[in-house]
């Protein structure tokens, strides 16, 4: 029964497709596009018929049927790069990896320390794996061996059937693998070689030895410092002693997910490997232009009817993740051709069955696709973010944007100026901003207004011209306003809202504060200093607070001794401003009474403490700035990458 129904459905849908094809034609942008869409429909009908036939044979296939069109092989696989010229990764990075391969393959087998490991790191979808695969294909005598992590035993499973399955943590498994590979470097690889070698034409050509390249694409996720140290230690040893070329791919994901904070996993792993002599190549997100190029190629190959605006919108919103962009494109094109065709709420009631099932299968996707169809049908609704990645920025990127204060130049000024209907004084006029709205920046950076203010405050001075003290004064007036606004913020609310009901004056005050901080800094900085390499610092405001509290506690502890003398207690203000300085003067010479000697001691220790605390203060700062420098270098890399857009286009 069910079988038959599905059968009917497919043929029905074909009819629908054909109907819709004629309906869609007037809506299409131009003649060329409509031509393309109609041809794609023909091929589509053909496929679905085939699918329907296949269905009849394969009874158990059941519910997944509507998605089983043969052309729905993921485009990311279908169009994965095969030649070096297909790659859109920056040419220099490719060259780096290639150079490493050439040199290590030459020296492989000969014992030498280090240099056999290559670490590729970068955000998701930056083409790390693709580069490796393409390059390995280029070298004919090289074979790629991947580490395939075994199916892990979950801890819960282990508890449930504890006798049968021994629990091995994923990290342990990985470490075990590393040590085995190190010891028996040739064994598993050689066997595989002979198997393939029998069939390989290379063997006939007299080549007896094939190079192995080990690819580790899946570092285990670790929680906690201890495990991480263990893993790092192992990786370091591995990097020092491994005898054949190995490529480790570390995806740098935490930055996107949390918006701030360095991904300690990646950083630590990278450090561990580098200390073992590994070479590191850092991949940047792929530029929007490059993504667009790839997408256009696919659109051409697939004969999709998709407007060029949509393509560029996908390319820009993917955040440099090309895999995501291609998936998005596929979703959009397929949705346009088939899903939108089959989905007809007013039509045959049989259709209601399928959407319901699909809803059961993948909750939410149907809803999305429904909305998406709407937006695709309206064809111009590009701001809808369905199917696109939520943009996120690292805190430093957002700060960099605000601090660098990029505005449209004189040439573009006219277009911006025409928007303003009233005349402002000269000194109040600014060029239009060449960036997203500052409020959006803050929300994308996932910071609360207070932290954003602290960061801005800490760094803004470097970004103002040496002569621009007036600008600084304006900016600080705004910061002062912001600080007052922030006082109304509730202490335990984060800036993130969950429902509309939660909004109260505190939230609004915080939102306004963030806006004023960013816009104030932007407005005030009318003479930005020349663009140059500037490292951002982490704010010390909170450290100062902490030290202040320490100091207060110290004073309080001391006031205990003091107050016996004077039969009253002093507030720490009085202590700090009046008593302590004079204790220092008086305490310099020895006093006869024990009590005063005590004071002298404490005042000496006070000096010591002060020294120590200011020292540790500095050290902290150093440490922090180091961490930030690492983080920042990434952000700056991204910046540099943006600048090299043109270069890529030429290439």
């Amino acid at each position: 029964m069910g079988k038959k129904r599905r059968h009917t459905f497919i043929f029905l849908s074909d009819d629908e497709d054909a109907d819709n094809a004629s309906r869609q034609q007037p809506a299409a942008d131009n003649g060329g596009a409509s031509q393309a869409s109609s041809t794609s429909f023909h091929s589509h009908i053909y496929h679905s018929e085939k699918c329907g036939l296949a269905k009849l044979e394969n009874v158990d296939f059941g519910v997944k049927c509507p998605t089983q069109f043969p052309d729905l092989q993921p485009w990311t696989d279908k169009y994965s790069p095969r030649e070096i010229s297909d790659l859109v990764v920056h040419a220099k990075k490719v060259a780096d990896v290639r150079e490493w391969m050439v040199t290590t393959l030459k020296t492989t087998g000969k014992p030498h320390d280090g240099g056999n490991v290559l670490l590729l790191s970068g955000p998701t979808g930056a083409g790390k794996t693709a580069v490796v695969h393409v390059l390995v294909n280029q070298f004919q005598e090289v074979e790629l061996c991947e580490w395939d992590p075994p199916v892990p035993t979950l801890w819960k499973e282990h508890l449930h059937v504890n006798a049968d399955i021994p629990y091995i943590s994923k990290v342990d498994q990985f470490i075990d693998f590393l040590s085995k590979v190190k010891k028996y470097s040739g064994l598993p690889l050689v066997r595989k070689l002979t198997n393939e070698g029998n069939r390989s034409p290379l063997l006939k050509s007299g080549l007896t030895r094939m190079h192995k390249v080990l690819l580790i694409d899946d570092l285990p996720v670790v929680h906690g410092r201890e495990l991480l140290n263990k893993l790092c230690h192992c990786l370091r040893n591995f990097a020092l002693s491994v005898q054949f070329p190995t490529i480790v791919i570390a995806t740098d994901f935490s930055e996107e997910e949390h918006g701030q904070g360095t991904s300690f996993l990646t950083v630590d792993v990278a450090e561990a490997l580098e200390s073992g002599g590994a070479k590191k190549v850092l991949f940047n997100p792929i530029t929007a232009n490059a993504v667009k190029k790839v997408l256009n190629k696919i659109v051409l190959a697939e004969n999709c009817s998709i407007s060029s605006e949509s393509v560029s919108f996908i390319a820009e919103s993917c955040g440099g993740d090309i895999r995501h962009a291609i998936n998005c494109l596929q979703f959009l094109c397929v949705g346009f051709n088939s899903v939108s065709g089959t989905w007809d709420p007013g039509g045959k009631n049989i259709l209601y069955e399928t959407p319901k099932r699909r809803r059961g299968l993948r909750n939410g996707t149907r809803n999305k696709s429904k909305r998406f169809i709407k937006c695709a049908a309206s064809a111009s609704d590009h701001t809808s973010s369905i199917g696109c990645r939520d943009g996120s920025l690292s805190l430093f990127h957002a700060l960099g944007k605000v601090l660098h204060n990029k505005r449209l130049t004189e040439n573009d000024k006219d277009s911006g100026k025409s928007n303003i209907s009233f005349i402002l004084k000269d000194e109040l006029q600014r060029h239009p901003l060449n960036m997203e709205a500052p409020e959006l920046l803050i929300s994308q950076a996932h910071v609360d207004a207070a932290s954003f203010l602290y960061f801005l405050h800490e760094n803004v001075l470097e970004f103002v011209d040496e002569e621009g003290i007036e600008d600084v004064s304006v900016a600080f007036t705004y910061f002062s306003d912001v600080d007052c606004l922030l006082k109304h913020k509730k202490p335990n609310t984060s800036g993130i809202l969950h429902t509309l009901d939660e909004i109260d004056s505190g939230h609004i005050a915080e939102a306004v504060a963030g806006s004023i901080a960013a816009r104030g800094a932007l407005f005030a900085n009318s003479h930005p200093s020349k663009p140059r390499w500037l490292s951002l610092r982490a704010p010390v405001v909170r450290q100062v607070d902490r030290l202040l509290n320490q100091k207060k506690a110290e004073l309080r502890a001391k006031s205990w001794r003091v107050s016996i003398d004077c039969s009253t207690m002093f507030t720490h203000n009085v202590q700090a401003t009046e008593l302590e300085p004079f204790y220092k003067h008086i305490g310099c010479t020895s006093f006869a009474t024990g009590q005063s000697a005590n004071i002298a001691d404490s005042s000496l220790s006070f000096v010591d403490n002060e020294l120590n605390s200011s020292l540790s203060f500095l050290q902290d700062e150093d440490l922090l700035s180091n961490i930030m420098a690492i983080d920042l270098s990434k952000a700056m890399d991204a910046d540099i990458m943006e600048k090299s857009d043109d270069e890529i286009e030429e290439w």
Binding site: E470, P491, N573, E578, T589
Partner: protein, 354 residues
Amino acid sequence: MLWVDKYRPHALDKVMVHVEEAQQLKQLVAQGDCPHLLFYGPSGAGKKTLIIALLREMYGAGAEKIKVENKPWKIEAGTRKLEVELTTISSNYHVELNPSDAGFQDRYVVQEIIKEMAKSRPLDVAGNKSFKVLVLNEVDRLSKEAQHSLRRTMEKYSSACRLILCCNSASKVIEAVRSRCLNIRISAPSKEEIVKVLQHVAKKEGLQLPLGFAARIALSSNRNLRRAILSLEACKVHQYPFTEDQSVQSADWEQYIVEIASDIVNEQSPKRLFLVRGKLYELLVNCIPPEIVLKRLLLELMKKLDSELKHEVCHWAAYYEHRMQRGQKAIFHLEAFVAKFMSIYKRFLIATFG
């Protein structure tokens, strides 16, 4: 023992400044009861001295047998349980504490301690129930919530205890609290009074104190008697016998502010502002209250300023001082003032000298 403590008058009859107020207080407590009191006035004016003397007047020498305790107070606030560690000084008759040390939990502290005190009311000699005195320092630094809860507890437990509040600025105490207390303003002693006290101390110590030098100490103390006496003692350690032109010892943080002021006047640029920021942080970390930093800084800047600018600079200092009270982090407002000053000063320099 420091001279400040050694020569603190212990009886209302013996005070050398605010003699009039002391006599009025004596009459006030003559019947054995008193209203809630709010002492306010600048630092080093003699508020604490008067309070201690008043306690002694009320309870006799027993009020001076004090013990210092640093004990944790367990407080149940609704569903939460807080534990606040607080230092108190107490005798059989009174408890003294700095509620603002408890940070933002101050309101619970005030309520809880007053309740605790009300539980154990002391008996006087005749066996009548009497009251205890709670001395609260720095009420102006209490949060508004704490002040409101103080108001309620004051009413509720007024039969069990008397409050003596002590603060620098009455304007930061809410109206409701002020109106429930007898407000007593303790003004800063005049320079002549300070000189008199200094000479008294010197005489007791058997020192020769030249009049001119005493006047200079009094001048540099900014009418703060405690500072004057501390400074006298420091000078004595530094050099004795005293000479007329001896330098007066001042606090190191003041020197630091002088330095900052000259930094600001010498160069007006973002880089210099950054340097100043570091120095301001250093002051704040060492517990120097930001209001005092701003005030001293203004005074130091004033010395180097053309009178044409003085009005404007004062205006901005007051403006940012007000902001500082309304905001959270003082550094923003301090720095905003410095930036504003730099901007004004630079404009002035360019207008004047081209």
